[in-house]
Symmetry: C2
Subunit: 376 residues, 2 copies
């Protein structure tokens, strides 16, 4: 159902170009997934995402389970048919969302019980339920239920979460044949490299279709992020997909790719777009600024997106200040193009042997230390 092949290997770094084959088609990696939590990437139609070159998108199993419900979607032919999106879909299990309910959930060894933010009623998610939800949705890549701890975490807290996540992974793995697509294990271990490495090794023993590295970009330092990834990746088999969840800024993607990561998702391009911030090759741009009031240029003169083909910064600023929906739509398609184009350039650079150069330019252009103005 799921096959991953490494096609090209960077001679200088762990970066690689791969080909992921799924029930809904092929994804060239490294790849970025736009986030469509509730079954829509905010403001964009499926045909818009296709036109931007999106190969795969992410949705959220927990949220769709709550509303409209898995039976509704399954009866309508699955999530692809429901959304009108025929390319691959990965769903996050929703474990992260449930874990973040803090005082409204209790975790035990078999799962998590929580009060739904929707109606205050008690609900329970366990590893089998999470598999069945994603089976009902018919997604291409499903995620196991895991326990994601807040950062910074104490070592014993992180260790307990790894043990629990591992137990749940063991319970999940035999159920993978209920799925139409593949099942990914999730490496936890917070900021402790030896926990990350050990958990990765254990998960690989279960032979998942791919491996996510979870619990990152949740408040730790950038150095801790890279240490965690560097600890986990060498334990993972080269013929399996590697996915870092919830990352990041464009320069972060380059750095993670250099460490052997194949797949990403993040709300940053879409959320920042709706908040009026555009990514460009020259850095970020806050469109409400007065300096753009009469600026006839597109957001990024080197950009090939439909927004830059037709609309000026002055118009986008006007839409932003007036609160016009179209502003969010146009900014979103620009930012997503920027991310997807960054991935295309990364793949091209790896294949042509120039990835180390691209990485150096990115690092030179700005630090990867979290500032938002660094260019890519």
């Amino acid at each position: 159902m799921i096959r991953f092949e490494q096609i090209e290997q960077c001679p200088d770094t762990a970066a690689r170009v791969g080909r992921l084959t799924t029930p809904h088609g092929v994804v060239e990696t490294p790849a970025f997934m736009a986030v469509g939590t509730y079954g829509s990437v905010k403001g964009l139609r499926a045909e818009d995402l296709e036109a931007l070159g999106a190969q795969i998108i992410l949705s959220n199993a927990y949220h769709l389970w709550e509303r409209p419900g898995v039976e509704v979607i399954a009866d309508l032919g699955g999530l692809h048919a429901f959304m009108g999106w025929e390319r691959p879909i990965l769903t996050d299990s929703g474990g992260y969302q449930v874990m973040s309910l803090a005082d409204r959930r209790t975790i035990d060894d078999d799962g998590v019980t929580f009060r739904s933010p929707l109606d205050g009623q008690h609900r329970r998610l366990d590893p089998a339920t999470v598999i069945d939800i994603q089976a009902g949705l018919g997604v291409d890549l499903a995620m196991v239920l895991d326990e994601c701890v807040a950062s910074p975490a104490e070592r014993d807290v992180a260790e307990l979460a790894v043990e629990r996540s591992m137990r749940w992974a063991e319970q999940s793995r035999p159920l993978a044949d209920r799925l139409k697509g593949g099942l990914l294990g999730i490496v936890q271990g917070s900021v402790f490299p030896e926990l990350r490495a050990a958990h990765a090794r254990q998960l690989v023993g279960l032979d998942f279709d791919g491996y996510a590295i979870g619990g990152l970009a949740v408040g730790e330092s950038k150095e801790q992020t890279w240490e965690a990834i560097e600890a986990a990746v060498p334990e993972l088999p080269p013929d399996r997909l590697r996915y870092v969840m919830g990352m990041g800024y464009p320069a972060d993607l380059v750095e993670a790719v250099a460490r052997g990561v194949d797949l990403f998702d993040c709300v940053i391009p879409t959320r920042h777009a709706r908040n009026g911030m555009a990514f460009t090759r020259d850095g970020t741009l806050v469109i409400r600024h007065t300096r753009y009031a009469t600026d006839p240029e597109p957001l990024d003169s080197s950009c090939g997106c439909p927004t830059c083909a037709r609309y000026s910064r002055a118009y986008l600023r006007h839409l932003r200040l007036r609160g016009e929906m179209l502003g969010g739509v146009l900014m979103t398609q620009h930012n997503l193009w920027h991310y997807l184009d960054t991935m295309r350039r990364i793949r091209h650079a790896i294949a042509s042997g120039s990835f180390a150069e691209m990485r150096a330019e990115t690092a030179h252009a700005g630090s990867a230390g979290g500032q938002e103005d660094r260019p890519l």
Copy 2:
């Protein structure tokens, strides 16, 4: 700059097919203008409007004058360049918006002084200023400043407004050569047919490029609407465009066309879309209703719009309930298609001699008396 030719005449009614030539191209009439008050039809890109077959759109001179300002737009090459829309644009003068400020404006014989809703500062609009604003925007069809009275109006109030509107029209007419496009006079007279007829006659004496009938659909009965139109239209020359402002439901458009009207604008299709109401050939549909929760059908199975080509009622309901932007986008493009397709069918019916039949079917399918569920 502006030319209107009548191409076909309905043998049974005053309906006609026309061709309006403007600096930005030809508009086949009867035509409907989507409303883009602030320089955007909410949620839709210019390319989306083109794909729906929109020939001309309406924007608002007053609002654009306030923000971002006429100089900004003029410096960027005019409203077409600013919006990225290359087809014709008509601007409402904004007189209606200013008049509706009620206790915050005073009208005198030379114009209107008001406190801006934006900053509380005093502003003044007079006939020449309104022409100059629209000249700066570079629109294809500009409107004179007029006084629009609330409905129901006393006869003496309506009469005074006609007199003032006529004086302003006289002041405006010689300034038409400042415009890139044409200038339309506006017939007032509230619900008094003899005032409507007299004002129309007087305006025609000034030889405008076309004539709007304003101050309708503001609370009067449907019978009063038709009486006002029936009083004005026979006074208007056949070789000039006739435009009823702010109308209406699809069945209203058919009835107005039957009375010789060529052009319409209304927020109903777009606003109702954002509020979750779809127009279909079988009537209107409130998408949040439970009955659509598992409905795999498109909004309208006879519809050719991009929404109906790909998305189910169940998905649109889900987007609506989740407050997803995409719901508004998809509903808007459907409703606008429905309106624009209604106009295409009207033009075809007139040209093929079957308009009276179409009108009878529309009237049979539902009353034109204001109920929202009547089909078209």
